[in-house]
Amino acid sequence: MWIEIETPMLANELKKSFLASLWFMFLTFPIMVIRVNTVEKIIQWRWANLFFVGIGSFILSALWRYLIRRKEQGIHRTEVDGIARVTLSQRLLGDRRFTIPALIITTIAALVFPFVFSIYQTNIMITALIYVMLGLGLNIVVGLAGLLDLGYVAFYAVGAYSYALLNYHFGLGFWTVLGIGGGLAAMFGIILGFPVLRLRGDYLAIVTLGFGEIIRLILENWNAFSFGPSGIANIPRPGLFGIDLDIEQATIYVYFLMIAMTLFTIFVVNRLQNSRIGRAWIALREDEVACQSMGIDKRKTKLMAFALGATWAGFAGVVFAAKTTFINPASFTIWESINVLCVVVLGGMGSIVGVIVGAFILILLPEYLRFLSEYRMLAFGTVLVMMMVFRPGGIVETVRRTYQYKETDH
């Protein structure tokens, strides 16, 4: 779709891009053009590079301006029409002719996957499902309640270490610890929640980030408790009525376990989201002061969000420990928190489908684009910036199901 840009405007835009490219040429001049050859003691002037930088930055800048303008016109149009823009994803999700076949295909694909593909692929899929669970849990905290939590990985670690340690010391089995791990993580959620009740936005982000690091540092340094950086090995895989499974069978078993747990997570999160508590979270995100003045207990509501979000991380952690059979603090760095946050933001905050899509993209793409792995962070950064500018709602923009009042309700 081409947007009409009036000629003076176009000239103006091109002028700005031209200036930007001049600026870029100036900035990069010392590194791109001058090269001091210390062996032969001469200075090389690589003028061709200057030319490429100029052309390149001009084109990128023009493209950027064009996209921004297009976006602004889009917003302008919706304001004039007064009707909200319906995105493709929203339309697809609202259309049964799309959703039902899509569901059937997904179900079949999920069922046959481990039998068609290798264990390696199945393992990747399990990782993706773990991220779906983590994403959905974090989505409660960030997407629904609007609390930016950068220490989410701490709860994941709590889950994983609960299984590893309780199994090591007391021989507790997977299923027992699944519940305990979730409960412990919820408790840690509340422990984190209390001191940060008054904080919002950036402050909250910093404190939660610190919390995540504290947990990791404890695990790394308290050797007597957590076996330090060397971690804990030989964690048993989940048992199936005492039957002995070989690695392949065990992987397939964990895969289906994760499918079941993901479905359970989706079910619970969906129920929560459309309940009195879910509404309170959204109201809290929208306006804290008004929310309290409408009779909602801010403290209780926030703690509930932290605790419930953490519970899923705890579950995911237990499964993670059981799947990899080895854990150490290196699996629970701040990057893990950021990864999960990216899943939520990229997929679409507050949207269950969005988080699922986000998790698959973020976990599967890097796996299959390994040749790009050196540029992974660069690509991540670029994609996130682009998303924030052009599609702040995420890939699947929130189609929060609002309560639709019908006369029949009367």
Binding site: S275, R279, Q292, D297
Partner: protein
Amino acid sequence: MDMEPILNVKQLTMNFGGLRALDNVDLDVHQGEIVALIGPNGAGKTTFFNCITGIYDPSGGDVLISAPKKGKTQRINGLKPNRVTEKGLARTFQNIRLFHNMTVLENVMIGCHCRMKAGILGAVFRGVSTRREEKAVVQKSYSILEKIGLEKYVNDFAKNLPYGAQRRLEIARAMATDPFMLLLDEPAAGMNPHETQDLDALIIRIRENEGISILLIEHDMKLVMSLSDRIFVMDYGKKIAQGTPAEIRKNPAVIKAYLGEEIDA
């Protein structure tokens, strides 16, 4: 008056650092009254509301309520805003504070929150009682919207409502908390004369039909004079006058505070 006031504010004082925004303010409201609080900008009216509704913890003084029919007098200063709302005082905001990305119905349903019970387990299992409660709340919210005249917007997002309707939605949301008293902070601000007239009728209806008493801050003198049973006037954090509209209109201190602005309407 032998009946105890439902709201009795004594010597309320609020300091912000060195600034005394409220200085020993007394005010009382009786069951069924419409009372106005007026004064120039910056007089401390909104601060007064914030101190009563728990948003600020006042530096001094007492806020006593005595809910009609319950009879017991309670001190509410220092309580959290949600506790104050549970006790039956609900408010609106001068700068509209709706939940913009929620629908009109959902906004009102939030108001019902503190009168509902469903917890986490109720939400997950969605048993009979939870579903019944949800349904009742939807009914109640819709009927409040009907009373306020907003039912045609029921499924719209709050942010898409016209300005006047947003102000009325604030009132609807406050009513959903089942208050015995509404505190309205400049409910007519930004409304056109026609909307203001509707608001006048609406406030009267709320008092007559729901038995809810009203304390309102308002700059529109015509509205204040026609609605109020009694008026309190503040300036620089102090109460400078109180009385019936007729008395206030003639009060020299009030005329001086408003410095020649039209009071008679």
